[in-house]
Symmetry: C2
Subunit: 144 residues, 2 copies
């Protein structure tokens, strides 16, 4: 569904939302620990997201990554688009470049519904909406 890179990206962003609530900043190491991912790898992914303006960062002592109130309202779909591109939202299920309403692949219609559901889910989920449940240990981000 998502690339590993994208899975890390979503988890990292949710973690940053969780830990940067009161103007705090989170370092790469803390993020890597918090979501159980390779630190240098997640660093690169976050650099990409910083360039796209999806998350903010500050260098130097007491620096790190953070999200403002507006950033916390960013839908998961945006992260997926930055990291994995548009394929999931618009691609053909069977990989036909020219699949369309007038030139449909066998699963075109059925797959369209699925794609729409996935899109709706990702557009309507916000990075910051999990913070409370994570604090209450009703949700988890670590893989082990």
């Amino acid at each position: 569904m998502f690339s590993k890179t994208c899975e890390y990206a979503i988890r990292a962003m949710i973690f940053i939302a969780l830990r940067s609530k009161d103007g705090d900043r989170v370092g790469i190491r803390e993020i890597a620990k918090g979501i159980d991912s390779p630190a240098h790898f997640i660093a690169k992914i976050l650099q990409q997201l910083v360039r796209k303006g999806v998350v903010q960062s500050v260098k130097g002592p007491n620096g790190g990554f953070y999200l403002d109130a507006q950033g916390r309202e960013c839908p998961l779909a945006k992260i997926v688009r930055v990291v994995d591109g548009d394929q999931l939202f618009s691609g053909c299920g069977l990989g036909l470049r020219n699949c369309s309403e007038v030139h449909p692949c066998p699963i075109h219609d059925e797959f369209k519904k699925i794609r729409e559901d996935i899109t709706a889910m990702l557009e309507n989920s916000y990075i910051g909406e999990f913070t409370e449940r994570l604090e209450e240990n009703l949700l988890f981000l670590r893989r082990k």
Copy 2:
């Protein structure tokens, strides 16, 4: 969603169903042309499906791949399971190995619905059900 390998597999199988209706057999070259895929690559994928008994093959002159009436009723889900494994049907959306009802990732519930829809679609679609519409040029298998 699916690996490229799996996309080829599904298209190849649908093509075989289309071209092996009256006991005919289809060669690799014809399949490769029919779905616009690398011949040797699709050959390997089909070997795997033959070993799993999802499709039949015969060597030698007038040989090739074919599906009997029962084989044409095989759901797409079976092909996906053979080629891509179980990940799509049961894996966590964010890659957490231990994601579950009691230890859910942030998108666990929403993703579960999507997975169930995908599963239902793949379990309820049969390899042979597209034959007629393909013959009428209402559906297509080639990518260009």
